[in-house]
Symmetry: C2
Subunit: 155 residues, 2 copies
């Protein structure tokens, strides 16, 4: 019988012992940062379009449903966003030679340019604040990015 057995425990105060409030804190702060940066970048490109372009760039010629999965979205949502992006000439769709139901989506040169512009607008919005951080703090952010990517790619 270990001492722990005889000590009455207080009720569990966290549903997930070991991680504590890390999850909610992390989500709260990223939501704030997301809104902060979005409101400053003054993007002319709708956010969902920008995310779509980044997704297409990342997984190359891809199907609608693959893009939906990458973006934690749904197929109908991506279908509609793809229609807009195609109309704007930002992506190109070709029939999938191996599957008559599917099409493959890829960026056009225009789309690549738009994506580049979006990224530099975001960089510009955030840069002044990043410059005020210490090198150590920036390093923490860099490493955190890698951690979150690993967390997201877990499945």
């Amino acid at each position: 019988m270990t001492p722990a057995d005889s000590v009455p425990r207080p009720p569990e105060r966290q549903s997930v012992p070991g991680t504590g409030a890390l999850g909610p804190d992390l989500l709260a702060v990223i939501a704030r940062l997301d809104r902060w940066a979005t409101s400053r970048a003054g993007l002319e490109v709708p956010a969902a379009q920008a995310r779509l372009l980044a997704a297409v760039e990342q997984i190359g010629p891809a199907r609608t449903s693959d893009l939906a999965r990458l973006d934690s979205s749904t197929q109908p949502t991506i279908t509609v966003q793809l229609q807009r992006a195609e109309q704007d000439g930002w992506v190109r769709r070709t029939a999938d030679p191996s599957d008559g139901r599917a099409s493959l989506v890829e960026l056009t040169d225009t789309g690549r340019g738009v994506l580049r512009d979006v990224r530099s607008a975001r960089a510009a919005a955030l840069a002044p604040r990043l410059d005020e951080l210490t090198a150590t703090e920036r390093d923490v952010l860099t490493r955190a990015i890698a951690v979150v990517e690993r967390l997201l790619d877990g499945s």
Copy 2:
């Protein structure tokens, strides 16, 4: 003279020397994480309402415009969200004794309960992935949260 000094550097590849692609990378990954977590938490509470409750909790009895500023939002947006939250009994508004135009918003007990539930749902959504990380990785995230908070509070 250190060896590093004698090594020819490649040309700057980013338009923001010193910060590199940190800004866009950071924003891209947090947007992904935000969507991922939101889609899994299966919240019954709309996201904007949850953010509002957290804001009210954070700055206590507060005015509409103070809440808007905290959330990088606008006064009309917060006004509407407050109306919903008040109808649901999540916040209470009292006249500001020192200013007839303003009212002070605070959480009700119900609102506090809702906020607690939202946080535990988010914690539960993220916990399995956080548990797969190493202690070092979780520590990086904890420190990154503090860094981002400092960055956001810069003004």
